[in-house]
Amino acid sequence: MSDERIPLLEASNVTKIFGAVRALTSASLELFSGEIVALLGANGAGKSTLVNVLTGAIRPDSGHVRIRGREFKAASPTDARQSGLIPVYQESSMIPDLSVADNLRLTNTEPAPFRYWLGELGIGQLGLDEEAGGLPLATLRILDLARALASEPEVLLLDEMTAALPTDLVRKVLDVIRSQKARDCGIIFISHRFVEVAAVCDRASVLRDGRTVGNLAIEPGVEDRIVDMMLGGSIDAAAARKAKSADDRAPGLPRLSAKGLSAGTNLADVSFELHRGEVLGVVALEGQGQDELFEVLSGFEKPSGGFIEVEGNKVSFEHPADAIEAGLAYVPGDRAAALLMQRSVRENIALPFSAQVSAWGAIPVKREGERVAEAIERLQIDTRAQGEVRRLSGGNQQKVTIGRWIATGTKTLLLFDPTRGIDIRTKRQIYPLMRKFAKQGASVLYYSSELEEIPLVCDRVIVIFSGRIVDTFNAGDADESTLMRAAHGLALSSAEAA
């Protein structure tokens, strides 16, 4: 591509200050038609803020945005839309109380192309009468994308579109993105997963602390350089190592065992044991019953069959508080469901401390401060906007949901896709953190939509398909393709055939 061409979209020296936080100091970006540019940066680097500026959702303090060389004073998302800029924001923009069809009507989206894209993305069977608020997050993200595609964008801005998606859907999304490139659409792609970036992007633009620090072509071996740029120095790449094998599991009763659990229409007869000092991975494609499994274990829902044992004692949870008392703490996949958005980071982390009636009295301020600070430290939470969690970047919010239980020192963590939207540095800190957590005697049930992290964290893996456990591996033996095959139920069908 030649530099004389006029960029489709150009941002130069954009700044944006929110109260005490300088979200963008000097951000610049160029995008040509038919090009896919990765916008990379650590949590809180300013990626989403830049997307918001480009689409007129917020107004920059200074700097310029040009579309095809013409100054664009994006007054509102409507104006951006009219210029062909279609965003998929980091949070779903589907109106929860409206049906999918009404959501389409709201944006004047034709149902026919929308249906076509749903089909391409693998959920063509979805009924448009469904209320958006009742759909799983992954489905909502696909709907966001399909709606964006249906309006034939000239510039597509995808802010962590893939973060909540399981691997199979990610592949479909990447395929679709490539097809858009083919029709000369310019695409900005934000993701914390380098594999995805490497798979589709032509160039990467790197943001650090609100400043554009580099622009480089995607080529083999570029990952480490990008990471260096993102973080302003190298990190300990060796931190993430393969997990130990499962043989040296601690003796005694299992910490948690599920016996023939079933729930709703999705989960049927699941049994497994989670031991002291173990990280047990859960692998499943979208909607195979993993959501129900976690909800039952965390006391959110009652199982319709089977039961749970903690330390060998049969338990029955009426309320998540019962589960927490039994030592099971749950981090849901949707951070919005777990956070007090208008409250501070500290209050969010300290929330479980006050839950019991016995802790309703004066707060031991100093001790609480220490515990919170330690959690913040261990998870590297960017606390510049700590007064209200809603002002944190998406990834930092995600960290707060985990930090809460790190600070509480719970015995068993039920993590549902905890590294969703978390940057590479923190991920590399979280994996050893989980290992250490386990080594100190805790247990972790770890569902992840990102298969490559399974061997880095887990001791064993169970694979769920159609609400049943179809396979169990030692994490050491679980490479991505094996897991993928199992997750698609292929192991099951071959077993049945045999």
């Binding site: 109260g19 927490i324 777990a338 409250r343 929330l351 006050s354 019991q356």
Partner: protein
């Protein structure tokens, strides 16, 4: 536009104001007092200040019930009735049961009605607005029935209540003896106790609180019972202040109590608000009432101005405190 320019003193002042939102509210209060002095020179004297504080105190106490419940996304519409009940029961029980027992007898219905609210909201999941509206009606009915048995037993305002309600030393009304510890306790509760934290938490995201092991019903039960009790105590203070028991003594103060809380920055949708803001809100309303009383204008204009000034004050307050 350079970034350095954005760091000027204006920005720093603004940041200070948004960090301590009660400061601009106090400034607005001061502005109103100045305006009053301009309208009626000489009125801002020792006696007037004491009277203003005296009337703002029970209002601020009643408004604390709104702040506390609004933090959880609720509201307590029964406080006017509860306070009226306890004041009326107090005045009519003094001749029958003696002062000390009368205090206890007067606070029992307040606490019970609060408990019923808490039961309905926390355990039966009835919307607080309906629940407290309902118990308010039930309370009024009970009071009317009670009233028929005490028509001829006389009533008495005990001296200590009259002393507390009406007395003053210089600009300091005696009721500060009750209010200062009360306000400190409420502010401390909201900032530094687990219970206070849970109020904000439930109002912000009940689901997230559940997930963290909070049993909402326990909090609601305690909260509404507390609100009822505070309303009851406020009723006693009103009795001391007005010295005329009546079947609707505190009833008209319900809307002003809600107003004081929202002017002071409490959100009805929960999760946001402070008690210090509410106290200033109550003072602003009291000063505003005085200002319009002393202005000789037709009643229609008076009400219109009252509304316009409330809107202006909150709009200015918002401009002063909001972040970019």
């Amino acid at each position: 536009m350079t970034v350095a320019a954005a760091e000027g003193p204006a920005i720093r002042i603004k940041r200070f104001l948004s960090e301590y939102p009660v400061v601009p509210l106090i400034l607005l209060l001061a502005a109103l007092v100045v305006a009053l002095e301009v309208i009626r020179p000489g009125i801002v004297n020792e006696r007037w200040i004491a009277n203003t504080i005296k009337f703002a105190i029970p209002l601020a106490m009643l408004a604390s019930c709104q702040t506390l419940t609004m933090l959880t996304g609720g509201i307590d519409l029964s406080v006017g009735t509860i306070a009226t009940i306890s004041s009326f029961v107090m005045a009519t029980q003094v001749p029958l049961a003696g002062t000390a027992s009368a205090v206890v007898i007067a606070l029992v219905p307040a606490f019970l009605l609060g408990l019923v609210n808490g039961f309905g909201v926390g355990i039966c999941r009835v919307h607080p607005l309906i629940m407290t509206l309902g118990t308010g009606l039930i309370g009024i009915g009970c009071l009317q029935v009670y009233q028929r048995f005490v028509i001829a037993t006389g009533s008495e305002v005990p001296d200590f209540l009259a002393w507390l309600g009406t007395g003053r030393i210089w600009i300091l009304p005696h009721s500060l003896l009750l209010f200062v510890p009360f306000a400190v306790a409420v502010v401390f509760m909201l900032r530094r106790t687990g219970f206070g934290r849970l109020l904000y938490a439930l109002g912000d995201n009940e689901n997230a609180s559940r997930l963290s092991g909070v049993r909402g019903w326990q909090v609601f039960l305690a909260l509404y019972a507390l609100s009822g009790l505070i309303a009851g105590i406020t009723g006693l203070l009103y009795l001391g202040l007005i010295k005329a028991p009546s079947l609707s003594l505190v009833e008209p103060r319900l809307l002003p109590a809600v107003a004081a809380a929202v002017i002071g920055g409490t959100s009805i949708f929960g999760g946001r608000g402070t008690y210090s803001g509410t106290i200033v809100g109550a003072l602003i309303l009291t000063v505003l009432t005085t200002m319009l009383t002393v202005m000789q204008i037709p009643e229609g204009t008076r009400r219109l101005l009252f509304g316009v000034i409330i809107l202006a004050v909150t709009a200015i307050y918002l401009r002063l405190t909001e972040e970019s």
